[in-house]
């Protein structure tokens, strides 16, 4: 669900391919339930954090505060009277102007184990990436299914190779906050 803030990008680096992520890039139009779900998710994370000692995870608390601010700003863009749970409507949104912090580039993400290469192939450029998720909010059928929260990332290459990855460690929105020390180096190896 937090992937509404996420856009995966790729960049060629030497002979291998690296995936990066950055938040702050959002679709022009999303179902209103998406933003409500995002708010619930962040509130749940904050509540969980408050149950453990918040002072030990001050870095996380600051990140969650920012996520909360971001989603609150998105909520204010919904038409008046949109309450949850209500019938979800597609609503046009734009990145909040009240958030001045720059989103941080996350990655490169480690591919493990190393994907196999086609023997003899020299056309190894990646050409497209797709993210698949399963079980929408309107679909109660998948409730309780262990794959409901599983994301799958696929990457296509010029030589006709397609890699299929499991997104086991979900990417979350992060900003370049002074004094917190979040940087690609500290987030990539998680």
């Amino acid at each position: 669900m937090p992937c509404v803030l996420i856009s995966l990008k790729m960049r060629k680096f030497a002979s291998s391919f690296l995936s990066f992520a950055s938040n702050g890039i959002i679709p022009r139009s999303v179902p209103s339930s998406y933003i409500h779900s995002l708010e619930c998710f962040i509130s749940a994370k904050q509540e969980f954090l408050s149950q453990v000692d918040p002072s030990t995870r001050r870095d996380l608390a600051i990140i969650y505060d920012y996520q909360q601010k971001y989603v609150s700003a998105l909520l204010r863009q919904l038409p008046p009277g949109t309450v949850y749970p209500a019938t979800s409507h597609f609503t046009s949104i734009h990145p909040p102007t009240s958030i001045k912090m720059l989103p941080i580039r996350q990655g490169p993400f480690l591919l493990q184990p190393e994907p196999r290469l086609l023997e003899g192939s020299e056309e190894e450029a990646a050409t497209d990436i797709a993210y698949l998720s399963f079980g929408s909010d309107d679909d109660d059928e998948g409730e309780g299914s262990p794959i409901k929260h599983l994301g799958i990332v696929t990457i296509a290459y010029q030589d006709g190779r397609v890699d299929l990855f499991l997104d086991v460690d979900k990417v979350e929105a992060r900003w370049n906050l002074k004094g917190v020390g979040w940087s690609p180096e500290t987030t990539s190896g998680r």
């Binding site: 493990q112 086609l118 056309e123 497209d128 006709g160 190779r161 499991l166």
Partner: protein, 118 residues
């Protein structure tokens, strides 16, 4: 971290290599198209046609493995019998005789080159 589950070979490289024209891959830019109805199906459009990838069986397999985490025998069984994506070739636009492709990609590239000449 992204957990690598599977590497799928659409067979383009081996087919072109056996036909002696692997250079055609240089104009190959595969793109994904997600099925609007079935969320376990995606299509790969490439210079030589279209492939459909169905990952439903992979998902079912993963669900069984995840549910079996507390059941050693089921978990072990799921790990020992990996299930792969089912891959179907929907459309082939490659001509072996002419050693060329009649695809949208090639067409667009030709149009582009023509426009540059003009």
């Amino acid at each position: 971290m992204l957990a690598v589950y599977e590497t799928i070979d659409l067979g383009l490289f081996s087919a072109l290599q056996s036909d002696g024209c692997p250079d055609l891959l240089q104009a190959n830019y595969p793109v994904f198209f997600l099925d609007p109805i079935h969320d376990d199906t995606l299509y790969v459009y490439h210079a030589f046609g279209v492939h459909a990838l169905q990952i439903g069986s992979v998902l079912q397999h993963l669900a069984v493995a995840l549910q079996g985490v507390n059941d050693d025998a089921a978990f072990e069984g799921a790990l020992q019998t990996p299930v792969g994506t089912s891959v179907h070739s929907l459309l082939t636009t490659f001509s072996v005789e002419r050693k060329c492709v009649d695809s949208v990609n090639t067409f667009l590239r030709d149009v582009d080159e023509t426009l540059q000449v003009v």
